[in-house]
């Protein structure tokens, strides 16, 4: 019998190296490389009048200084707009080094290359840049006014405007449905900026050998970095390889590419003929990578006496910072995922995405969903409060029923495909979360409140991923997939899939991710898609290899392939275990040899086999080797879901908010490794609590990010995070062979909504703005 590893809490294969200091993160590589450092803009908005590098020329160890004018035409071009969209009428991207105008504090202006980072930073400090300050645009409302422009050629600072509308069954639009509803409410919601903030920042290390370029990057997409770098440097794709080594967290920010540094560092390595490395420091990460979340939402809702939403009209102002390299994915996700597990009668959503002189906005774990869920869940709570109903009752009245799947929401999702939910069971999930938190027996008192939040998350978006599986003559199984890993335990989860599919011990399986030398076609790791898309691709590749192994073994055993099974790495005749051949031998037989290098391979040489002399050693249509490659390209996204509940306590004097209990019920379809899924949820919830209570990007009126350090940007420590209680519901996805959805982002999505719900319950004060600090709650109490 094959051990079923799929679904088991297998310990992680990546841990031994990470626990003993043997991980290979970006800055652990290239010990002898030259170091790059950057002069970055201290102004939020300014014209660069002059750059004087003369003061830096005598710095010992200085190798080169580059400004935009030093870059070849192709290298100096504006960075690509990765995801164009018809509604993004005024997409703008930065230049690798500032050309004439800087548009946020932290924008790179000069690159210095030196013997080590200390010398490079010494040189940076001695370079004089003469700026003509321009008036900055800070904050969504200032941007909307359009009095000052971030980009001279973008009127009103509006990068994109999109309206999506789903009519009610009777054909009426949302606004009309609201007008005729028995009850209506209108309100404004605010969500502030936070950021992914992985503990390892970005980094790039490049080597040029005169013909081939090798780039290591702390990225969430090595294949796409490869294409972008090859294009920017004018190199044929086969001469560029990109490797994501161990990556110290991503959470979305590292999906953006190519970063200026991903173009400049390889270019410098080629130009200088030396290895060059750049490792981002923490302040650089705050002011020159990306943020997310910031939105203002205006909501109008019409509903009946049961709380059923008849019409919902949401207008979103989205701050996308100074540039739009990642297009308008975040507000599109907010607009579509706002619907959650509900089916409003009619829905209209409109967003305007505006430029500000701040760090660009690109996806951070959840990618627009936390804002959408905050909007919908606040709406549900307000309806319940208005009607005097239990909050869970109002939600239940609006749920999509289990018998309504697949459910078409009538919109276009972020993958350009219809927003059709594949499966789910929301009433059961609500029952589970109420039981887990003790909703019906909770005893409310001033300063103690309970809250709830529900979400649906489109996961596993396409277009595709692939897997390659090779069994070598030592019986080892080598799996590779192109997407990258940043701590999700892919080496373990994918090994579980391969071991289960092939019937081999997991110890014999090794997995490589994010290395274009091993697998060249991939999209990347984002949108909780790795397990779904790569997981299924690997399973399909394994099935091909298994079929081939059975075919070859059947020949060797003179049996029918249909009578064979594989267990413990040995192919055997079912019911006759002595008629068996190990996969190592099958691998040898799969590759006819002229030369032997050991006893095993000797069996495949020309005088050792009993191969039929009238047929070619490799049969027509076959390839040598016991290996296979396959791809999984989903027709559309899968839809995971979850419900969270929390009990909070608020201090009557200090207004401090303490989360006493936090419960999660989660449905990501079939679980590959429940231990890893739980870990993902724990981490997501912790980031959510950070976003709900502590984290915000504080820009002053001049566009200075005044809390750009870990001392001032308050990420939660262990002291701030409660124990998370979890329950799992499994509604397998009918869309993919393994029935899995995705889990990576789930934990973070509803947390702000849940905490707002609980604080509102404890205080009896409406909470319309997140995060909420003790002083803000105190002010709300004062009225």
């Amino acid at each position: 019998m094959t051990t079923k590893l799929f679904g088991a809490p297998v310990q992680r294969r990546e841990d031994p190296r990470l626990l003993t200091g043997q991980g290979r993160y970006l800055d652990d590589l290239g010990r002898d490389a030259l170091a790059a450092a950057f002069v970055r803009s201290p102004h939020a908005h300014a014209r660069v009048r002059d750059i004087d590098v003369s003061g830096a020329l005598d710095v010992e160890g200085l190798v080169a200084i580059y400004t935009w004018e030093d870059l070849p035409e192709r290298v100096g071009r504006a960075l690509p707009l990765l995801i164009p969209h018809p509604a993004l009428t005024h997409g703008r991207t930065a230049y690798p080094l500032a050309r004439d105008v800087v548009r946020h504090v932290g924008e790179p202006v000069v690159m210095v290359v030196a013997a080590d980072r200390y010398a490079a930073e010494d040189a940076c400090a001695l370079i004089e840049v003469d700026y003509e300050p321009l008036k900055p645009v800070v904050g969504i409302e200032e941007a909307v006014q359009g009095a000052q422009l971030v980009h001279e050629d973008v009127p009103g600072n509006v990068g994109a405007h999109l309206v999506q509308e789903v009519a009610a069954a009777d054909g009426r639009g949302a606004r009309e449905a609201i007008e005729t509803s028995p009850h209506t409410l209108a309100f404004r919601l605010d969500i502030e900026r936070s950021a992914s903030m992985p503990l390892e920042g970005r980094g790039v290390y490049a080597r040029w050998d005169g013909r081939d370029l090798r780039v290591y990057s702390s990225t969430q997409t090595s294949t796409s970095v490869r294409m972008a770098v090859a294009a920017a440097l004018g190199l044929p794709l086969p001469q560029v390889e990109v490797i994501a080594p161990d990556v110290g967290g991503g959470f979305g920010v590292k999906i953006v590419h190519p970063w200026p540094e991903e173009v400049l560092v390889p270019w410098a390595a080629m130009t200088l003929g030396r290895e060059v490395k750049w490792t981002e420091d923490r302040r650089e990460h705050f002011v020159s990578s990306a943020h997310e979340r910031g939105q203002v939402q205006y909501v109008r809702v019409g509903f009946d006496d049961d709380g059923r939403v008849l019409g919902l009209d949401v207008t979103i102002l989205h701050d996308h910072g100074a540039y739009t390299p990642y297009g308008i994915i975040v507000p599109i996700v907010t607009s579509t995922q706002l619907l959650g597990p509900y089916k409003p009668g009619a829905y209209r959503v409109e967003f305007t995405a505006v430029y500000t002189n701040t760090v660009q906005v690109t996806p951070y774990r959840g990618a627009g969903r936390p804002q959408g869920v905050f909007c919908m869940e606040r709406t549900m709570d307000k309806i319940a409060r208005y009607l005097g109903k239990d909050r869970t009752e109002v939600r239940a009245a609006n749920f999509i029923r289990p018998d309504e799947f697949p459910y078409d929401q009538g919109m276009t999702f972020q993958d350009g495909r219809p927003l059709i939910y594949d499966s789910g069971n929301y009433p059961e999930m609500l029952r589970m979360i109420k039981e887990l938190i003790g909703w019906d027996t909770f005893e409310r008192r001033p300063g103690l409140g309970i809250g709830i939040g529900c979400y649906v998350e489109g996961t596993g978006v396409g277009p595709y991923e692939g897997g390659h599986v090779q069994i070598t003559s030592d019986g080892r199984v080598h799996v590779s997939t192109g997407l990258t890993s940043q701590g999700q335990g892919h080496e373990t989860a994918f090994a579980q899939i391969a071991a289960t599919e092939l019937g081999v011990p997991i110890e014999r399986v090794s997995v490589v991710t994010g290395d274009t030398r091993r697998f060249g076609y991939a999209v990347g790791t984002f949108a909780s898609r790795a397990a779904v898309v790569s997981g299924n691709a690997i399973a399909l590749a394994c099935r091909k290899v298994r079929e081939k192994a059975l075919r070859i073994a059947a020949d060797a055993l003179e049996a029918d392939p249909g009578d064979l099974d594989i267990a413990d790495g040995i192919v055997h005749v079912v019911g006759a275990p002595s008629a068996a051949v190990p996969l190592s031998t099958v691998a040898v037989l799969a590759n006819p040899l002229r030369y032997a290098f050991d006893e095993e391979t000797a069996k495949a040489t020309q005088f050792a086999t009993a191969a039929a002399p009238d047929r070619p050693p490799v049969a027509e249509g076959e390839e040598p080797g016991l290996e296979g490659r396959d791809y999984y390209s989903p027709i559309r996204s899968t839809f995971a879901a979850g419900m969270h509940a929390a009990i909070v306590e608020t201090d009557p004097d200090t207004a401090e908010i303490k989360v006493l209990r936090y419960a999660v019920v989660h449905d990501c379809g079939r679980l590959i490794n429940p231990m890893i899924v739980e870990g993902q949820i724990h981490g997501g919830v912790a980031q959510g609590i950070g976003g709900a209570l502590y984290e915000r990007m504080v820009y002053d009126q001049h566009g200075q990010l005044v809390n750009a350090s870990f001392m001032d940007f308050l990420m939660p420590y262990a002291t701030e995070i409660p124990r998370v209680e979890t329950g799992h519901l499994e509604t397998p996805s009918p869309l993919n062979p393994l029935g899995i959805k995705g889990a990576g982002e789930a934990g973070v999505i509803p947390v702000s909504a849940v905490i707002a719900s609980a604080v509102e319950d404890a205080e009896g004060i409406e909470i319309n703005r997140m995060p909420i600090s003790p002083s803000e709650l105190f002010e709300l109490r004062m009225g």
Partner: protein, 159 residues
């Protein structure tokens, strides 16, 4: 001007020539090639760079290498037994899924190693307090707390 220093790192005397401003974290990573010690903020908040200096946890990013000339330093590379078997703390982190991306992990391992030496059977509150100087962005800390208790158990069993 450079200074000749000797650090006893993981039981081995290592010599290095460093300028006065060389951070201990950079010295360990770049001069001695011990890249297991990570740098997450370089301003002493995240705790990724924590090493043991004469047995006590310190931020190596806030320590100049010249100031610890002659000291004994333990990094993550020195936590395993001489025969390469992972320490109880390391094994407990693996068993309890106390790490994800692994970047903050060396700092936690050093912190927890010192914590359990001082307090072999900490309460839940003492564990949380004990690791409250280290940031982790992946795990939500729950499994790290569990791992500390598990490590305490393993140490007691193996004592």
């Amino acid at each position: 001007m450079e200074h000749e220093i000797t650090l006893v790192v993981n039981g081995t005397a290592r010599r290095a020539r460093v300028p006065a401003r060389r951070l201990l974290s950079d010295c360990l990573r770049h001069d001695l090639g011990l890249t297991g010690t990570h740098v997450g903020c370089e301003h002493g908040v995240c705790g990724c760079c924590t090493v043991l200096l004469d047995g006590r946890p310190v931020r190596s990013c806030l320590t100049f290498a010249v100031t610890v000339d002659g000291a004994e330093i333990t990094t993550v590379e020195g936590l395993a037994d001489r025969d390469g078997r992972m320490s109880a703390v390391q094994r407990a982190f693996a068993e309890c899924h106390g790490l994800q991306c692994g970047f903050c992990t060396p700092g936690f391992l050093c912190t927890v190693t010192a914590l359990l030496k001082e307090n072999p059977a900490p309460t839940d509150d003492e564990v949380v307090e004990g690791i409250a100087g280290n940031l982790c962005r992946c795990t939500g800390y729950q499994n790290i707390v569990k791992a500390v208790h598990r490590a305490a158990e393993l140490l007691a069993e193996e004592a």
